[in-house]
Symmetry: C2
Subunit: 299 residues, 2 copies
C-alpha cells in the first residue's frame, strides 16, 4: 500500500479479511435491484485503505477478541465510511469525479443510484451489527449499534460534514477546525477503535480512557496528514483529486499552521498515540503499528 | 385531517403523542451544527399523516404493549419515512418542490444540507431504537433494529426506489408494479406493524401470519390510493405536487387498471385487511380503523 512505510503482514492479512467479509455482507450484483447492488459493491469493494477496519481489528486484539467477532464491527465501519464518501462526492457536496483511483459512484452509476447506494450502505451497516455476536452482555447504551449511530449521525460524522459546508470560504480558528474534524473524520475512527475493543473483554476505566486518547490522537493525525497530502500529493498517488481544499477555499491545517508546523503536529500526535498505549504492553502492538502508518502514509 | 372520514380521537391523540416524541428525539435547532438540525426538524415536525406511527401504536395495542414502549418504534419509522421523502424529493430523484404543504427540504435549506439531513435522520432512527426498552427478550434476528434495517435497505424501501427509477417510462406488468411498491412503501409500513407488535406479548405463529397479511393489504392499499389521488387530487388537498406520475411517465395502478378498477382494488384490500384481523377480537379495533382511513383518505 505504501512503499515508504513497512506495511506489516498482519495489516495486509486483516485488510484481505475485511474485504472478504464485505463481499459476503453486500448483496450480489445479480440480486434485484441489480443496478443498486452493483453501485453498492462498486463503491465498497476492491479499494480503500481499510484504516477503520484495521483499527477495529487492532483494538479487538488488545481486548483479546476473536477476529471473527470483530468482523461485523470492521464491516460496519467500512460501510459507513463508504456511504459517506459516495454522498460527499455528489455534485451538491464536493462534486468530485475521482475516488480510490476510479470514477466516483455517481459518475459510474448516475447520481440517483449513487444517492440510493449511499443510503442503503448506511442501512446495511446497522443490519450487519444486529448479527454480531458479542462476547459479553452490554447495556443498551453501550451496544455496538449505539456507538456506531452516535459516531455517524448529526452529532458525529454527518454533523462534521455540515460544519465543513458551513465553513467553506470562512476564516476558522484552529479550535474550530479541530472541532469540525473531530466530528467529520474523528468520530468514526474513534468508533472503530471502541467497537473493536467492545468485542473483547471489558476494559477498566483507565484502559478505556487510554484507548480514547489513542483514538483521538490517530483520528486527528489522520486528518492533518490528509491536509498535508492534499498539498504534496498527486491524484495518482492519492487516488482522488489533489489540491481540492485550496481550490474550494476550505480551511485546512496547512493553511492555518503552514506545512512545516502541520508535519510537526503529526509527529506530536503519533507520540501521543504511542504514549497512551504504554500501559497495555504487547497487546497494543498492532495499534502502535497503525499509529505509525497513519502518521507516515503517503496516500 | 380528512373531513370525509371519521378520524378517531385515538388517532389524533397518538399523532400528537408521536409529534412530541419526535420533537424530543431530534436535536434542538440551537445545537451545533444548527443548519443541519434545523433542516432535520423542518422536514420531520409539524406535518405528515403519521400513518406509520399510528400503525405501530395500533399493533402495539393488539399485543398489549405500553404506548411508552411503542414510542421508540413509532419515532423510528417516522424518521426513516422523513429521510426517504427528503432524498426522494432531491433534484437527482423526483426533483420536487412541494411536500407536506411546504417547500421541500432542499428548496428551504439547500441541496447539500437536505442530503445530510436525510442521512442523519436515518442514523437517528437506529439510534432511537437502541434506547427502546423491550418487554421481552428477542434473539438478534428478531430485534427491532434488524426489522427496521431490513425494511429500509436495498432489499426494502431503498431497493423499491431503485426499481422505481429503473422503470420510469417502461411498460410494467401488474406483478412488477406490485413488487416495486411492496418494497418502496410496503416494506416500511409492514415494519411499522411488526415493530409495534414486537413491543408487546409474543404473538403465536398464526397471529403473526394474520398481522403480516393485514400489513401487506394496507401497505398495498396505501399505494393504490396514492395513485388514485395523484390523478384526482389537487396540490392543495395533497400537500404535494399532483399529477406527477403521469408527467414523469411512471407506471401506476391507475394507468394499468384504469381508475374504476383501481378503486375496486382498494375496496378489496380494505376487506382483506379486515378479514385478516377476524381472530383478534376487540384488540384489533385501532388497526381496523386505520385500514378504513387508509382506504378512504383524500390526502
Amino acid at each position: 500500500m505504501n512503499p515508504d512505510v513497512a506495511w506489516p503482514i498482519w495489516s495486509r492479512e486483516r485488510a484481505q479479511r475485511v474485504e472478504g467479509a464485505l463481499a459476503r455482507a453486500l448483496p450480489e450484483s445479480t440480486e434485484l435491484p441489480q443496478p443498486l447492488h452493483a453501485a453498492m459493491r462498486y463503491s465498497v469493494l476492491g479499494s480503500g485503505k481499510r484504516v477503520r477496519a484495521l483499527l477495529a481489528y487492532a483494538s479487538g486484539e488488545l481486548a483479546g477478541a476473536d477476529a471473527a467477532v470483530v468482523d461485523h464491527a470492521a464491516v460496519a465501519v467500512e460501510l459507513i465510511h463508504a456511504y459517506s464518501l459516495i454522498h460527499d462526492d455528489l455534485p451538491c457536496m464536493d462534486d468530485d469525479v475521482l475516488r480510490r483511483g476510479k470514477p466516483t459512484c455517481h459518475i459510474a452509476h448516475g447520481e440517483a443510484m449513487a444517492l440510493l447506494a449511499g443510503d442503503a450502505l448506511q442501512t446495511l451497516a446497522f443490519e450487519v451489527l444486529t448479527k454480531a455476536p458479542l462476547s459479553h452482555p452490554k447495556t443498551p447504551d453501550e451496544s455496538q449499534i449505539a456507538i456506531l449511530a452516535t459516531a455517524s449521525g448529526s452529532r458525529g460524522m454527518a454533523g462534521g460534514q455540515a460544519l465543513d459546508l458551513a465553513h467553506v470560504g470562512e476564516a476558522l480558528s484552529l479550535n474550530e477546525l479541530e472541532r469540525m474534524h473531530a466530528l467529520k473524520t474523528g468520530a468514526l475512527i474513534h468508533a472503530a477503535v471502541r467497537l473493536g475493543a467492545a468485542c473483547g473483554r471489558t476494559l477498566d476505566q483507565a484502559q478505556a480512557g487510554a484507548l480514547d486518547r489513542y483514538a483521538a490522537a490517530v483520528g486527528l493525525a489522520f486528518q492533518v496528514v490528509d491536509d498535508v497530502l492534499d498539498v504534496e500529493g498527486t491524484a495518482e498517488s492519492l487516488g482522488k483529486t489533489a489540491g481540492k481544499d485550496a481550490m474550494q477555499g476550505k480551511p485546512t491545517y496547512v493553511t492555518l499552521l503552514g506545512l512545516g508546523r502541520a508535519k510537526e503536529r503529526v509527529a506530536e500526535l503519533r507520540d501521543e498515540a504511542h504514549t497512551s498505549l504504554l500501559g497495555f504492553g504487547a497487546g497494543a502492538r498492532r495499534l502502535k503499528e497503525l499509529a505509525d502508518w497513519i502518521a507516515l502514509r503517503k496516500n
